[in-house]
Symmetry: C2
Subunit: 305 residues, 2 copies
């Protein structure tokens, strides 16, 4: 196993202007591990309840996701989220969030996972993110995500997480909120000062930007006419990105750029259908085909004054 | 003269979190012509009043802008706009809009302008945009801009304009509003069906996207730590873009991509100071230097699966 992903495995009921799906497979670790599975060997640490369906387990297994770290809590139900999107599907509206097993989630890292070289800390309580880091031995690279909720409620703990990771991967609004500035370059500068080598800022349909100590990279998203359900796009992006990074022995700027292409392409497939329906059934040629397309979309010819 | 720009020449008083400037040179034709002057020979059709200062005229002349089409109305004052920006400076708040001479603006195209090969129709009443087109002879390329106000009040006339131009250059919100869809690819598809060869959609800090019948290009904006005043950025972008296009005899996809780089670089300089202070004083090396930087920022290495 090359990549450890800690996050949620959930059951989602989602409605969008393009349809709905009841009790589908969801959760940040789910989306991320399926995306990563095309590039590396991921394993997850998460918890599900007694109602978690066998078919979901089978899907993850089929994608080569190591499930030794998936705890099954027989006393409770699986984390359940129900919500809907309207109009441009920019914002998710929550109908129900039943934490269930997730409320007492304690990410115990199996012994066999403790030397995993790459780690993705998905959006969970920053205290748990720190707890994970205390259980593992010298990973090569740690990437973390978070959300507005933790920025508002646990900014100090979150800062501790940021000080311990190599890459922060967050939304543009989260970056602005945490850094208290409307400017993304200013926010990235502040975050880099905490220690991480790179800041990845996700901007949805506007693509993604990467800030290093002395570098900058901007990648557009795929222009899509058919977007059915944006749920899981960010987690799919993060999983695809770190999954691609995990293939290589040396972290270079160009590797990161390629990894962001991988993440962007995986996210573009994610939103074309509900749940993981599209990302679970991709052929490698579909990924490399869209990556090639994206490169052409972003190609800037040499400038002549 | 290679490029005719029809729009406003104004006097602006602008306040931002980073300072203020009273009665500075403004207006869409001003910003666009100064930006274009680095790449081609522009001339403007616009109107000013009796109070328009000699130093503004001199600045435009110094930049090589042909002013035969600049009418001076001795009975009225110049178009005056006063406004301020707050926070992330995303939205302009208007304190005063005194149309003055602009209220009865009638874009009479001088005879010597009527064979100009490239035309930029800046944001004015669509009836006036159509009037300009009826006065000129077979231009090689016409690009137009507009604003929410005309989309809401004159959608049918505006559609007539769109049917007659080669390139539409508008903001993302305007594209969504006119086409009644949240999706930019869908909006661009609708606009292309009206006849234009290309749709340029401006997204501010998120850069710009170009839709052709069978092509797509996305270019990021320059990441700037120092943004003083966003006024005129869109017009500067449009002027830089069509100014660069006007240098060439053949419209190709790569020429357009380079032109968008030119526009983006000019806009990035525009926002670094008030009014045209920065864009009026650029060295060619500053433009090509930033263009080279932007190309590196957007460089996508070949993907390997």
């Amino acid at each position: 196993m090359k990549l450890l992903i800690v996050g949620s495995v959930a059951v989602d009921s989602v409605e969008t202007p393009f349809g709905k799906m009841n009790r589908a497979l969801g959760g940040s670790a789910t989306y991320a591990s399926i995306a990563a599975s095309y590039f590396t060997s991921p394993g997850i640490v998460a918890v599900v309840g007694y109602d978690f369906e066998r078919r979901h387990i089978n899907l993850l297994k089929r994608k080569g996701v190591d499930l030794e770290g998936l705890q099954i809590d027989r006393s409770e139900k699986t984390f359940y989220w129900s919500g809907y999107y309207e109009g441009d599907m920019n914002a998710a509206h929550t109908r129900a969030t039943d934490l269930n097993v997730f409320e007492s989630f304690n990410p115990a890292i199996p012994k066999s996972y403790r030397d995993t070289p790459f780690i993705l800390l998905e959006n969970i309580h920053p205290a748990l993110q720190l707890d994970v880091l205390s259980q593992v031995r010298k990973p090569k690279l740690v990437m973390c995500d978070t959300m507005n909720y933790w920025i508002n409620s646990e900014p100090d703990l979150l800062e501790k997480v940021f000080r311990k990771v190599d890459v922060i991967c967050i939304n543009e609004d989260e970056a602005r909120l945490f850094c208290n500035t409307p400017s993304l370059p200013a926010a990235a500068g502040k975050l880099l000062k905490l220690g991480p080598k790179y800041i990845i800022i996700k901007k949805g349909i506007h693509g993604v930007v990467l800030f290093g100590k002395k570098s900058f990279f901007a990648l557009p998203s795929m222009p899509l006419l058919k977007v059915k359900d944006p749920t899981g796009a960010g987690d799919t992006f993060a999983g695809g990105t770190i999954g691609y990074i995990a293939r290589s022995s040396r972290l270079s700027e160009d590797l990161l750029r390629r990894a962001l292409v991988a993440g962007t392409v995986m996210a573009s497939y994610c939103v074309e259908d509900f749940s993981c329906r599209r990302t679970a059934r991709l052929k490698p040629e579909e990924i490399s085909g869209r990556a090639k397309q994206l490169r052409e979309y972003a190609r800037v010819p040499a400038f002549r004054m």
